[in-house]
Symmetry: C2
Subunit: 197 residues, 2 copies
């Protein structure tokens, strides 16, 4: 029996028993919870500590109305009923902050002078941070409903105009109503996804 | 005081006290540990359960020699001394598996007919899974050393020839020697990275 560094209950909460929710209880999520998610997830590693993730938490009916037209049809009803939907974005202008975020090497900013490399780095590391965000939300006791089905360009124009921030994915947050769950989908076996050399 | 769903010790292990390691103890990592990482991280959510991450665990001197020429200079010595280095890749051919991975909707494969959309979906979700991998490795008691400094095309040719798998990042695994740690870099405050609407 393998020893785990963190207990089985915690592993269930963040990985094994957690499910993507499609229906939400009518129960609010406090601002303190949103801050607690960020205060945990920000410690997750990124390349040269570039930390490109940016988040807009949509918590009001007015905010949801701005989001609604950009959602794919299948994501509208559930997103309008979620207490919070986080727009997870990434900032392609992250190199500007590297002199502060990566104090070990003041040349780090110059590593990302190529715009394609900066975009790819922001997308990769912003996605890593998006996953830390999901795990952290579960760790503080929330359920998540991550979604890719929306018009990225429309969301960028509505929420990130005048910046170099691009939307990555959406993540509804709240307390799930298990009556909205799908049957759990299978996962690949170790041998299908991994090789040991 | 906010209640966390998982205990503070677990939060320290996966987020707050964990550090990217640069120096490794001479202590092996068992195959059972590698399998335990995968068996946890595979439950993390991906879009349409597409699960595009693929991993090659490099565990032998022969495997490390194949990896070495593709590493940036600053990553060579530490990677050669790590007991395991995982090459985290993503499979752009993931749509082929959707009829099995997303049984709810047998049309899911057709959503990714556009190669650019398939590539972007694989990169985003393979990166999410890469982050789940890091968290899961810490959760089973290992330290991580994730790295982006390597020649992706060279690694793809050496390890993924004849497939549509592309390398994403590397993650050394083992038991860190804290004498190799940098001082911890700062993170952005909530107000710098997040907005509540």
């Amino acid at each position: 029996m393998l020893h785990h560094a963190i207990n089985d209950e915690a592993l269930d909460i963040v990985f094994r028993a957690a499910r993507t929710q499609n229906k939400w209880q009518d129960k609010p999520v406090s601002t303190a919870m949103l801050m607690a998610i960020y205060d945990l997830m920000r410690w997750g590693p990124t390349s040269a500590n570039c930390s490109p993730m940016r988040v807009v938490f949509v918590t009001t009916p007015e905010g949801r109305k701005r989001l609604e037209p950009h959602l794919s049809a299948g994501n509208r009803v559930k997103t309008m009923s979620a207490p919070v939907t986080a727009i997870i974005g990434y900032d392609v202008a992250f190199p500007e902050l590297l002199p502060r975020l990566f104090p070990h090497d003041q040349t780090a900013k110059s590593w990302f002078a190529d715009p394609g490399h900066a975009e790819r780095t922001a997308f990769r590391n912003g996605s890593l941070q998006g996953a830390y965000f999901i795990i952290a939300a579960r760790a503080v006791g929330l359920d998540c409903g991550p979604m890719s089905g929306f018009d990225n360009a429309g969301v960028d124009k509505e929420f990130f105009a005048g910046t170099q921030i691009k939307s990555n994915f959406l993540c509804a947050l709240g307390y799930g109503d298990p009556s909205g769950l799908f049957a759990r989908s299978p996962r690949l076996s170790f041998d299908e996804a991994c090789k040991i050399l």
